[in-house]
Each structure stands twice: as structure tokens, then as C-alpha cells.
């Protein structure tokens, strides 16, 4: 078992405050890799050269942390390094080859102005001595963390062929205090848990954060009026709008791929939950399901033409799919076990992540949509819920419990690598992984 502990100290800043004056979220995550991959690729990430008086931010350290956390890489311990090259010409390839390093990343920071940084980095294949990457990144001291994640993304993609997702964001709900005096916070943080910002805070429950397709807005459920309502909040400005507050249940918002509509769960006077589509511009509602059972937890297909959702119309909760074009009855997708709920679609639409119950324990599983490969249970916890795919599909973040507290965890989509993100404060729940940035 590959077990390591890394402490990420998160600087405190508040990007946006909701209607309630929000104190900073003090959230530090301990990353604990509980299950590793034996086939991790060895890579040397040499500390970057830093000019005198510059920021002491450890760019190479964060890149190594990102790559190690993915489970696909194993970075060399700095104690084992046999030199500190900062450019390709300084690399003694034969020596690094003897240390069994397949790749080596070197780099250096320059400070052309008091608060400006140029990071030059190069990635080499140690065996072939071929340069795989060579770039210069311009940023400022506040941007060093993001730049480090972006370099990790480039390295990850260059070697694995899969787009890196280190420079993305997650949203989650943090619960502070104890019953009956709890505080609920909606938090947006870097994908590694650093830089947490409280975007909404309430003494009443907050639920179900959902990122808009381009990551500029978040929809969520708030009980701030002692009844559930759905809000849409613009992250940059903090401006928010109540988009659904019908009598009864207003839950489970899910964005359409075009960002113009939300699938939502509403109830009638008798308490029957069904799925509707809410047009955000007009407020118009279109009913999607018509069944006396609980229909909820909708998720759109990428073409916007069908919904996946949870329904207990056949008894216990199971996953169904309904076409929005053609009429007809929803198609049931899960048949193994008595409890399968909350589907989330992988970015390539090859599978659904869901919550399944096994012998009374709730676990994260994937359902193969393409080859009828059935279900694969990925986790071994007792309370594993709220799965959310990384935008590159390589990992799933989910909520679990550890030592009586709600924490976040990651599992690779193939189930081979698992990590726990231990927050040092509060209960953490309902993670939602945001989309890639800057692609809109």
C-alpha cells in the first residue's frame, strides 16, 4: 500500500460573498493516498531555480503533488536527486537514467518586474533525451499556484495523452458547528482543495451545487427561507437569482449542455416528485416524468436530448433514461442490486457514476453504457455518495465519512487509485467538479 501524507496550506481569500457576509473558509486538506497504482510512471521534478528575493512558492513541489495525486506518476524524492539542473543543457541524462527516472522536468523562475514572473520549464524523456515540452509562462505572484497546476496539466497530457485537470475547480458544501446550530457554506476551491472561497453561507441547509457548462455560474438549493428554493449565482460577481420556488419541493438542479435550461425536481400538492425542465430565460416549465414514484437527480446527455435520473417507480431507486425528443416510457438502466441512484455522466459518455448499496453500505460504482459491461463498484466505504467526474474523466470525486466526519475522496475511474481529502474543519459533502476553464 502506497501511503503518504501531504499538507496543503491554503491561503485565505474571499473571491465572492453571497448575500450573507461570509467569513473566510479555513479549509486545509490533507491528501492521503489510500490505494496506489503499481504502474505509476517515475518522474524527476527538479526544484525550479528562483532568483534572489523572489517568492518562495515551490512550483516544482506543487507540480509533483498534482502528478503524484493522480496515481499515474511517482515523483522522485528530492533527497535522492543527484543534482539540480534547471535547463535541458544541464541534465546529466545517464545519471538520471541510473536512478530509474523515465522523465525529468526542469525549470527556472525569472522576475522581470517586482510582481511579475516568467517560468521557463522543459520536460525530457530520460531514455531518448528528447524534449517533450518547452514553454515560458508569464504570471504574477498570485498566479504562481495556478501556473503550477497548468504546468502539471501539460506534463500529464504530454505523457499520458489525457488532458490534465489540475487547474480546474471544485464546489462543495461545508457544514460547520453542531446540531442544532449548524452553518452551511457553499465553497469553491481549486481542484486540490486549496484557495477555498465561501460563495454562500446560511444557517439553513445548502445542497446540490451544479456548475454551469462553462463554469461561470453555480446552481444550488437553499433552505434559507425555511423552504427549498433553487438559486443561480454568478461566481465572478456574486450576483444571484432565485429561479425556482414553487410550493413544495424544489431540488436537484442540472444544467442543460447549452446552459439555458435546468432540469429540476418539483412536487405537486400530494408530494409526488417529478422532473421538469425550467427555461431560465422565460421561467417556463416542461414536465418530463409522470409517475407516482420519486423521480429526481436528473443529469443531461451531452446532446441535450435525453435525461438520466433516479426513480423508485419499480420499488427501490434505480437509474432510468428518458428521451426528450420521442415520447415513450423511460428505459431502466440498472438491474443489479436494490439501490442505484444519482447518476453522473462521464465526459466521454461511456459510463455513469452512481451510488449503489451493497449489504447496507453505500458505494460509488460505474455503469458501462457502451458495451453493456454492467456495473463496477469502485469504493469500499460505508457512506460513499455524491460522485462527480473530473472534466477529463480520469477520476471521480465523492463524499464519504472518515472517523465520524464528512470528507471528500477521489477514486480513479478504473478504481485502482484512491485518495482521501481530509478537511481540517467541518463536515464536507456534495463535491461537484467544475469544467475545464477557458474553453468558451
Amino acid at each position: 500500500m502506497n501511503k503518504r501524507l501531504l499538507l496543503l496550506a491554503a491561503p485565505l481569500w474571499i473571491l465572492v460573498a453571497g448575500i450573507v457576509g461570509a467569513p473566510p473558509a479555513r479549509s486545509e486538506f490533507l491528501v492521503q493516498i489510500t490505494r496506489g497504482q503499481d504502474t505509476a510512471i517515475p518522474i524527476a521534478i527538479v526544484p525550479f531555480a528562483v532568483p534572489p528575493g523572489a517568492s518562495t512558492f515551490d512550483v516544482a513541489g506543487l507540480i509533483a503533488h498534482d502528478l503524484d495525486g493522480s496515481g499515474r506518476f511517482k515523483s522522485m524524492d528530492r533527497k535522492d536527486m543527484i543534482g539540480e539542473p534547471h535547463a535541458g543543457a544541464e541534465i546529466a541524462f545517464d545519471d538520471w537514467r541510473r536512478l530509474n527516472s523515465d522523465y525529468i522536468l526542469v525549470g527556472r523562475l525569472a522576475r522581470p518586474a517586482p510582481n511579475a514572473y516568467d517560468i521557463v520549464y522543459e520536460l525530457y524523456n530520460v531514455l531518448t533525451r528528447q524534449r517533450l515540452l518547452g514553454y515560458q509562462v508569464h504570471t504574477d505572484s498570485a498566479g504562481l499556484r495556478l501556473a503550477s497546476h497548468q504546468i502539471a496539466d501539460m506534463v500529464y497530457q504530454s505523457i499520458t495523452g489525457i488532458r490534465g485537470a489540475f487547474a480546474t475547480h471544485i464546489a462543495y458544501v461545508s457544514v460547520l458547528g453542531h446540531v442544532p446550530h449548524r452553518t452551511y457554506q457553499l465553497v469553491v476551491a481549486d481542484a486540490d482543495g486549496a484557495n477555498p472561497h465561501v460563495v454562500m453561507q446560511s444557517s439553513q441547509p445548502l445542497m446540490s451545487p451544479a456548475w454551469s457548462p462553462h463554469g461561470r455560474r453555480i446552481a444550488y438549493v437553499s433552505f434559507e427561507d425555511h423552504l427549498p428554493s433553487i438559486y443561480v449565482q454568478v461566481l465572478k460577481t456574486g450576483a444571484r437569482r432565485r429561479v425556482s420556488a414553487t410550493a413544495g419541493v424544489n431540488q436537484a438542479p442540472a444544467w442543460s449542455p447549452d446552459g439555458r435550461r435546468l432540469a429540476v425536481t418539483l412536487s405537486d400538492r400530494s408530494g409526488n416528485l417529478d422532473i421538469y425542465i425550467l427555461d431560465l430565460a422565460t421561467g417556463g416549465l416542461t414536465r418530463v416524468t409522470h409517475d407516482p414514484g420519486i423521480d429526481t437527480e436528473a443529469q443531461w446527455s451531452k446532446d441535450g436530448r435525453s435525461l438520466y435520473f433516479t426513480s423508485d417507480r419499480d420499488g427501490g431507486p434505480q437509474i432510468f433514461e428518458k428521451s426528450l425528443d420521442a415520447g415513450g416510457r423511460p428505459r431502466r438502466l440498472t438491474f443489479e442490486g436494490s439501490y442505484n441512484a444519482r447518476p453522473r455522466l462521464s465526459p466521454d459518455e461511456s459510463r455513469l457514476a452512481l451510488v449503489t448499496r451493497e449489504h447496507g453500505d453505500y458505494r460509488i460504482a460505474t455503469l458501462d453504457l457502451k458495451h453493456d459491461g454492467g456495473m463496477q463498484v469502485l469504493t469500499k466505504g460505508r457512506f460513499d455518495v455524491s460522485p462527480s467526474f473530473a472534466p477529463n474523466g480520469a477520476e471521480i470525486i465523492y463524499a464519504t465519512r472518515s472517523a465520524g466526519r464528512g470528507v471528500l475522496a477521489l477514486v480513479s475511474t478504473d478504481g485502482r487509485v484512491q485518495q482521501t481529502l481530509m478537511s481540517t474543519v467541518g463536515e464536507v459533502q456534495e463535491p461537484a467538479w467544475g469544467p475545464f476553464q477557458g474553453n468558451d
Binding site: 446540531v179 442544532p180 441547509p205 427561507d225 425555511h226 420519486i294 433516479t310 439501490y339 453505500y362 455518495v385
Partner: protein, 184 residues
Amino acid sequence: MNRSMTKVILLAGAMMLAACHGKSAVKEQPTAGAAVPANETSGPANGSGTTMNPLPGGAAGSVSALAEAANNAPIDTRTIYFDFDKSDIKPQYDDVIAAHAKTLSANPTLKIKLEGNTDERGTREYNIGLGERRAQAVRRALMLQGVADSQITTVSYGSERPAVEGDTEAAWSKNRRVDMVYLP
């Protein structure tokens, strides 16, 4: 001896909380319901121990005074507990439902909010559905005994507002509940 004293103190604390909240604004009401865990006499673990406490019925007085009196009634009559994954009301609560139905039908201006809750297991949004089902079960039971639809509102908190924290069946059994809250 020690244990029962603790219970008395907890119960007194819970009643003070309830009294406090009875006088405060509507939005603080649900917290009184959350004080339920202090009571250990009527949870599902000890179903036969339910005590019957008559609620104020038919007496003249302002709605808010009635609501306050109802909220200050012994708290074990304001929460109904459910079995895992179930929303049917167990027979042991027949008298509780009857007492509330009698009070509400005798006082048509009185309003009650039924807050449905589940334990923490399972998915959060599906739990909202289960909590709503429980609240609706109590609503239907009250209406069957003559309470007007207009007197009842329901809300489901799913697993978002546990009465008791903890990953044990003892805690979960206190969280699978409908809290009945009289509105001033």
C-alpha cells in the same frame, strides 16, 4: 439515578429552547423541533413507551398563543419516528396523530408545518423524496381525521437536518422523523 438526572436536565433545556422559539419569529421555529433528541422516552427504540399528552383544544385565545401553547406541549408528542426506508406511520403514533388532529380541527385558524427527515444514509436528493413521503403520510393522516388541507404545510429536509449526529443506528433512528411545528 445519574442518568435520569441528566435526562431531566436535558429535557428542561429542550423545553426552554422550545419555549424560547415559540415566541420568536416564524423562521426560527424549526429549531424547536430539532431539540427532540433530548427525549428518550418515545424513540423507535422504545416504541411502547409513548405517553399521551392532551394538547390544548377548543380553548379561546389568539392563534399565536395557541401555537405557543402547542409548541410548548411535551415534546414527545411532536415528533413521529419511522423505520428505515419506510414512510408508514406506526400504530403507536395513532394517539399522537389523533391529539393533533383534534386540536387542529377544533381551531381552524391554527396552522402546522410538517418537516420530513431521513437518516444520513443514501443519496441526498433521493432522501429529500423520502422525507417528503413521510411528511405527506402525516398530512394524510391528519386530513383523514378532519384537519383542513389549508392548515397544513409540508417541507422535506431529507438528511440535511439531523436531530442527532453520529454514524450509529441509535442516531439514525432519531433522525428518521417528521417534526410537527405549530406556526404562530
